[in-house]
């Protein structure tokens, strides 16, 4: 009699355990479904790339050869690489730095309350640094863009990263 009751108790425990296992599996499937849905986040870099493109076409007040021949940022960058000054005597590399810094500060508000935690802007000619500007902190999440072109057959690279 006692053995029969024990067996029945064991059977009930097995049944209970089975129900718990089934519930756990269902919960796991449900959770994996939820987590999978939430991890779908795409990183868009088009803003970074359009920023570089637009910056390069900006008209500065640095003219070359004659008064009204105002150079674009790309033109000033080439002057900087050549080591030439603006018509009014200003250093072209200084003009380049000042203008790009102004554009970066106006376009990307960095801060703890802002979604943007930092940025880095770097120009290289033949692997050598021409300009490097950064603000805020570098995090593992970033949107970035690389623009490369050639000046006298030598590579110029512009790298821009925005950290989130």
């Amino acid at each position: 009699m006692k053995g029969k009751m024990n067996k029945k108790g064991q059977e009930e425990m097995v049944g209970f355990a089975l129900i718990v296992i089934v519930m756990a599996i269902v919960l796991l499937i449900f959770l994996s479904f939820v987590i999978k849905g939430k991890s779908k986040q795409e990183v868009e870099s088009y803003e970074a790339s359009s920023f570089i493109q637009s910056v390069l076409q900006y008209t500065t007040n640095c003219s070359k050869d004659y008064e009204m021949n105002y150079q674009t940022i790309q033109g000033v960058l080439f002057e900087c690489i050549k080591g030439e000054a603006c018509l009014d005597g200003r250093d072209s590399c200084e003009v380049l730095k000042k203008e790009i810094e102004g554009m970066l500060k106006s376009s990307w508000k960095v801060g703890n309350e802002s979604p943007i935690k930092g940025y880095s802007f770097r120009i290289e000619f033949e692997g050598e640094e021409i300009l490097s500007l950064s603000e805020g902190n570098e995090t593992s999440n970033y949107k970035g863009s690389l623009q490369s072109f050639r000046k006298a057959g030598k590579p110029v690279e512009i790298r821009f990263k925005i950290f989130y």
């Binding site: 479904f33 008209t59 008064e67």
Partner: protein, 174 residues
Amino acid sequence: MKTRNAHSGKKGQMKIQQTAFMLIALTLFFALVGIFILGFSLSGLKEKANLIEQEKAMILVSKLANSPEFSCAKTFNNKVNCIDLDKVMALKERIEKYEGFWEIGNIEIIKIYPKQEGVCTKENYPNCGKIILKKEDEGIYTSNFVVLCRKDFFMGVPYDKCELGKVMISYTKK
């Protein structure tokens, strides 16, 4: 014997009750899980619809600058990602003819650098900071950087002046 039968009948009833409760609990549990999954997948659909709207707006905002109504074209040496501000000001005057053309709520162009204040009108252009081309409703904005070019004058002689700006369009959340 009778008491034993009654006792075993009561036990059987208890067992049936236990099974019934368990079945009800299990059914309730699966129904709840089902409702959760259904609700989640439905909210996912809504999210997807919003994502499509957002993507549409992003594509439009990145292509708007290169469309004939906005692009710099030959006037500014076929620059890419460039908006001819003089052209946009002319377009602003006859925007009602473009009713339903872009299928979006708002189109705004903002000067970012150098920063300038005020909404552009025929009177204050180009000394202003924002061109409101179309404003119908409040929606979610998406933007893209562009270069804003116009003809400027130095001692009466024209030259190309390009500044940094943003084109902003809005879409409505579903």
